[in-house]
Every structure is written in structure tokens, then in C-alpha cells.
């Protein structure tokens, strides 16, 4: 059972952590520049990259059972539908 597991080394985790800190520094400094409407877009883009790092490496999903990826995609898709439908209703009301 245990010998099939993929083990991630300490260095990989530390590298991911450093990337996460760097992305945080970037998102904070960008918020200081006046970019108008793009600020939110860039902040959400960086948050998405950070999430991908956490989910893939820290949460191990990249190396886990494929069914967990299906779960993840399904919940993300559900959220997307809820957001799109709500805004569709809200904007064209």
C-alpha cells in the first residue's frame, strides 16, 4: 500500500513556499500602483497561480488519484456556474 506513494522532497516544498512569498510581494506592490480596473484582475490572477501551487504541490493533487482531480474540477465548475448565472441575473435585471 505505502510503497506506491509519491514522496515530495523538502526542497520542493521550500521552493514552492518561496514562490508563494514572491507572488505575495508582487501582489502587494502592484496594489500600490494605480492601475484602475486592472488591479482586481491582476490580484485574482496572482491568487489563482498561488492556489494552483498550493493545490498541486502542498495538497499533493498532482500526484494523487485522478478521481480527486475530477472532484476538484467539479466543485470549481459548480462555483463558476453559480457566479456566471448570478451575475447574468444581476446585470440584466
Amino acid at each position: 500500500m505505502g510503497n506506491k506513494k509519491h514522496i515530495i522532497g523538502y526542497n520542493t516544498y521550500i521552493l514552492v513556499w518561496l514562490s508563494l512569498l514572491a507572488l505575495t510581494a508582487i501582489t502587494v506592490s502592484i496594489a500600490g500602483i494605480h492601475l484602475g480596473d486592472y488591479t482586481l484582475l491582476i490580484a485574482m490572477f496572482i491568487a489563482a497561480i498561488k492556489s494552483a501551487l498550493v493545490i498541486n504541490i502542498f495538497m499533493h493533487i498532482k500526484f494523487d488519484e485522478p478521481i480527486f482531480k475530477v472532484f476538484l474540477a467539479l466543485s470549481g465548475f459548480t462555483l463558476l456556474i453559480i457566479f456566471v448565472l448570478t451575475f447574468f441575473d444581476f446585470i440584466y435585471r
Binding site: 508563494l20 512569498l21 488591479t39
Partner: protein, 213 residues
């Protein structure tokens, strides 16, 4: 495999196998995490609609939040995510001491986060900004909504951090008691998954509340 016990003196080769399904346990954890995603998802949806409707008021209200303390808490949570991941890697490499150390550090970071949150909230409350306060009710709707969402979302997130502390302390106990071992650490992995989710939610809360210019 210290749970496997040989039973029956009369039948020498009768071995009782402990039933364990690691994949099933993890699947259950992931399913639980999705209910969490939807719980917070509903709040993010509310936030999105009101921010769209009252973008100027949200901007004004958000400028009152302390970006420094928000950034500090981001760094704390990201680092605690690293230490819990290292704790799992350590037990996989048979390093029980490092695993215990990293898990303890994670708990300390989690408590630091809560202490910062306490000071942040108290500063706001001392300025008279809390739900249904006179000061807040005298402001436009958008700002009332912003601070309402701020308290509810960071509050629910803080509650998750607190529950995380309790869960991690249990894991620490199991680790010390050898209930979590090199070939049986799914409990620790699941606790780690929960902790990473708490981190993930903060990754979105942070720019949405503290980084509006």
C-alpha cells in the same frame, strides 16, 4: 503495523487484519473540503455582487483596513502551510522528531495568526466600526456591507483557523503516541489538507479585503 494482532492460540495462522482504506479516507476529506469551498463560495459570491454594485464605497472602506497586518498574516499562513507539508514529508522519511517539530511550529504560526487577527479586530472595534455600531450605521450602505462582509468572512475564516489548531494538536498527540507512523499517516495528511484549504481561502480573502486601492 502495530495494530495487527495475532489471535487464537488454537489456530496458529489466524491473523486478524485491521481494515484500513487510505484512499477512501482521503476521498472523504476531499468531499468535505468541497462543502467548505461551497460554504465560502456563497460568501465570495455575495461579496462579488456587492462590490460590483458599490465599488466606490468598497474602495473607501477598504482603505481603512491595515494592509501591513494583512500581509503579515498572509506570510504567517503561507509559512504554516509549508511547515505542515514538511511535517508529512518528515514522517514519510522516518524522521519523527522533525515531524513533531514542524507540526508544533505550524500550531504556533496558527496561534500567531489569531493573535494578529485579535489586535486587528480590536483596533477596528475601538474606532467604533463593528456590525450595527452607531459609527457604521451612519455611513453609506456600501460601507456597511463591506464591513459586514469583512467581519463575517474573516470571522468564519478565523473560526476555521481555531478548529485547525485543535485538529493539529490532536495530530501532534497521535504523532507522539505513535498512532501516526511511517506506514500509517493518512490522518496527518487529511489534517494537512484541511490546513491548506484554510490557507487557500485566505489567499483570496487577502487581496479582496486588504488590497483594494
Amino acid at each position: 503495523m502495530n495494530h495487527n494482532t495475532i489471535v487464537g492460540n488454537e489456530y496458529n495462522h489466524t491473523i486478524e487484519h485491521v481494515h484500513r482504506d487510505d484512499v477512501g479516507a482521503k476521498m472523504g476529506m476531499w468531499l468535505f473540503l468541497f462543502t467548505e469551498v461551497l460554504l465560502f463560495g456563497g460568501m465570495f459570491l455575495t461579496y462579488a455582487v456587492y462590490r460590483y454594485q458599490y465599488s466606490e464605497q468598497f474602495r473607501l472602506a477598504a482603505m481603512e483596513l491595515n494592509t501591513g497586518i494583512g500581509t503579515l498574516n498572509t506570510v504567517i499562513l503561507l509559512t504554516s502551510s509549508l511547515t505542515v507539508a514538511l511535517s508529512i514529508a518528515a514522517i514519510q522519511k522516518k524522521n519523527k522528531f522533525l515531524s513533531i517539530l514542524m507540526l508544533s511550529v505550524t500550531v504556533v504560526f496558527a496561534l500567531m495568526f489569531l493573535v494578529n487577527k485579535y489586535f486587528e479586530w480590536m483596533a477596528k472595534i475601538n474606532h467604533g466600526i463593528f456590525p450595527a455600531s452607531e459609527e457604521l450605521l451612519g455611513r453609506p450602505n456600501g460601507q456597511i456591507l463591506f464591513f459586514g462582509l469583512y467581519y463575517v468572512m474573516t470571522g468564519l475564516h478565523g473560526l476555521h483557523v481555531l478548529i485547525g489548531v485543535i485538529v493539529l494538536l490532536f495530530m501532534l498527540y497521535f504523532l507522539i503516541k505513535n498512532d501516526i507512523t511511517l506506514d500509517n499517516y493518512t490522518k496527518l495528511e487529511n489534517a494537512g489538507l484541511y490546513w491548506h484549504l484554510v490557507d487557500l481561502i485566505w489567499i483570496f480573502l487577502f487581496p479582496l479585503f486588504y488590497l483594494i486601492q
